[in-house]
């Protein structure tokens, strides 16, 4: 969670001003000394010096960042509660912040291997084991992204490069998990990323999903503009990683696979936009072919293999069968589009302007894609 957001929330809870403060290590040591004799001070403990209370948030080589407030406005037990809340909001304790990047990469790689092992065994709902030492970091709800990246010209991405880029993009609050095979990366981002957005929006899940799409698009462009290569992304609604990380990765992978199979030119593949594709993919090949032969005998005609017709139909369906919008998107005159549709009708007997026929053509297009590849 963003430090500024936590500060604002603390301020609202205690009803008094809370400041963000950066302490040098020397200053921190003076605060720690001033703490009550006999009490144990760690990098996560709140300390009182004189009339001021300091609650640590983040630690670096330069010192400690935290929140400072008037000690009088909170009781002893409230201080303990604030400590707990801050620790939870931080998502990861100081152990992870203070640990070296190498440790972090190793630990996250182990998590990736564990996820893969669970997937291989078909165990989708196992809880992350304690020995991975990641439980503190993966508390609360998080947004999982899956990135698949390939670059034939330049070297592959390293953990360090990608982590740095994504930390900047998501403003620090991420866990990057390399999945075995070095081409896939799981990115876990605190749900707080969406908080500001939710507060500003009354439009519910659709808008939140729109935001998730835009975030993916941003990551896609960022990676392309930095390193080139080909990347594909998928994202899910927020999950509780401790219980559902493996099933989330499974769904993300499935979305990437389906998206890349059915929508060759796209790079963002969202599970909630691939329901029909998932259904089609689950149909055995023989039945797919049977359906094509029986229902749309013309499916093998050039209509469904001609690039111009395919791009016309895809745009038409993407734009909810809106003729004017499709013509605009394709930079053609409306009459040209109507002419193309009449041609399709002439050759297949299906008029995509009628709902029934549009459904059939849509299914046919999807089936053609998947049967052609077999």
């Amino acid at each position: 969670m963003d430090i500024q957001l936590v500060r604002e929330k603390l301020e609202r809870v205690v009803g008094d001003s809370v400041e963000q403060r950066d302490l040098s290590l020397k200053e921190w040591s003076s605060w720690a000394k001033a703490a009550k004799a006999g009490s144990e001070v760690s990098g996560t403990t709140a300390v009182i010096k004189g009339k001021r209370l300091f609650i640590p948030w983040d630690q670096s080589e330069a010192g400690i960042t935290g929140f400072e407030m008037d000690a009088k406005v909170v009781t002893e037990s409230e201080i303990r509660l604030i400590e707990l809340v801050v620790e939870a909001a931080r998502g990861a304790g100081f152990s992870s912040v203070a640990s070296s990047p190498g440790d972090e990469e190793e630990r996250n790689t182990r998590l990736g291997q564990w996820i893969q092992a669970q997937l291989d065994r078909g165990l989708l709902h196992e809880e992350i084991p304690d020995q991975l030492n990641l439980k503190s970091r993966l508390t609360g709800t998080m947004v999982p992204f899956l990135l698949s990246y390939e670059n034939r010209t330049h070297r592959d991405l390293t953990y360090k490069q990608l982590n740095k880029l994504l930390q900047s993009y998501f403003d620090g609050d991420i866990t990057l998990v390399p999945l075995p095979g070095s081409r896939e990366w799981l990115i876990l981002v605190g749900e707080s990323l969406l908080n500001g957005f939710k507060e500003e929006s009354d439009e519910g899940q659709d808008t939140e999903r729109g935001m998730l799409y835009d975030l993916c698009q941003g990551v896609y462009e960022l990676i392309s503009n930095e390193w080139g290569g080909t990347s594909h992304l998928s994202v899910l609604d927020p999950i509780t990683p401790l219980q559902s990380l493996t099933s989330a990765v499974s769904l993300l992978r499935e979305s990437l696979q389906l998206g890349r199979l059915f929508h060759l030119t796209e790079h963002i593949h969202l599970p909630w936009a691939l329901y029909l594709e998932r259904l089609i993919y689950s149909i055995p090949d023989e039945q797919r072919r049977q359906f094509l032969d029986q229902t749309v005998p013309h499916a093998s005609s050039t209509v469904f293999t001609d690039n111009e017709t395919l791009s016309t139909l895809e745009s038409f369906f993407q734009l909810d069968c809106n003729v004017s919008e499709t013509a605009k998107r394709l930079y053609i005159h409306r009459n040209t589009l109507l002419y193309r549709m009449d041609k399709i009708k002439q050759e297949t007997g299906l008029d995509v302007r009628s709902f029934q026929d549009a459904v059939l053509v849509k299914l046919t297009l999807l089936l053609c894609k998947v049967t052609k590849r077999k």
């Binding site: 993009y169 957005f197 935001m211 941003g218 462009e221 503009n225």
Partner: protein, 373 residues
Amino acid sequence: MAGVRLEHIYKKYAGAEKATVMDVNLDIKDKEFLVLVGPSGCGKSTTLRMIAGLEEISEGKLYIGDRVVNDVAPKDRDIAMVFQSYALYPHMNVYQNMAFGLKLRKVKKEEIDQRVREAAKILDITHLLDRKPKALSGGQRQRVALGRAIVRDPQVFLMDEPLSNLDAKLRGQMRAEITKLVKRLETTCIYVTHDQIEAMTMGDRIVVMHDGIIQQAASPEELYNQPTNIFVAGFIGSPTMNFVTGTLSEANGAVHFKANGLDVEVPQGKAITLKEKGYVGKEVIMGIRPEDIHEEPVFLEASPHTIFNASVFLTENIGHEMQLHLSGVGNDTVIARVDGRSRTREGDQVKLAIDMNKIHIFDKDSELNVFFN
């Protein structure tokens, strides 16, 4: 700032029968505004993406300045891109969106602030700096995307249909603004569009592409007046150039172009070229721009050997001009662009004359312009 040079560039996708981009040679000068234009699938975006480093170059060499950049990652090419989708980062406000590229490159905070505020001022978006992208209109988002590119102060700007998502009015405004902006920044700019009006109004030089091949690279005027082949002639200009297939013949020392409903005399200068190149007696394609067909009595009187009769089956009055759709000439519809005050109406039989000094003759097989090849 720097120029960009493409030497025998090819792009072939794995499994594809044919290359998407073939033998592209271009020398784009420092500070030049070059427009790549052509229909969908002509290879213009692929060419731009290769320059950007987003697509691998299958063959050939790409230079930015004096450096070969084929194997240089996009971030190290010192370019800035603006695309149609202008995917702004949704969780960042306008300021953060514009500053992000610089932050990644570890530019000092003070300098980032200065550059962002300067760019915002140029683009007139200072008042939007605290807003998130979703609170912006399409035009404002596009300005932010431009701002993101400007703050980078790159050697080359690459723009791929940056105005396509805007409505017609805004597109017109932004077109002029981008042109002014690029001139002001004195940066090399490569701009991809399918829109010939954008191409003609913005570019110092236009490259017309078709089927992955450069058809012609020339100034807007040259492209319009001296198209190298039928494709370029038909692509540039709206309404498009009329094409009439007919035969060239010689009678009484004059060369005539004869087609269905048409027998017109070719001016001396052009006739000499046609004779020299051996086109007399052969079937050719004549290209006539709609504005080179006249109905004014004065013109008809002065050009008695280029008069023809036609039926008007449709008129389109746009106000300042009227387009007459004619039948009875050649095998297809011929369009004439006449004065908006013309009294000609649908169903009329009209007498018109062609300004033969402006015609183009194309070889029927090679489709090349006989006068410019």
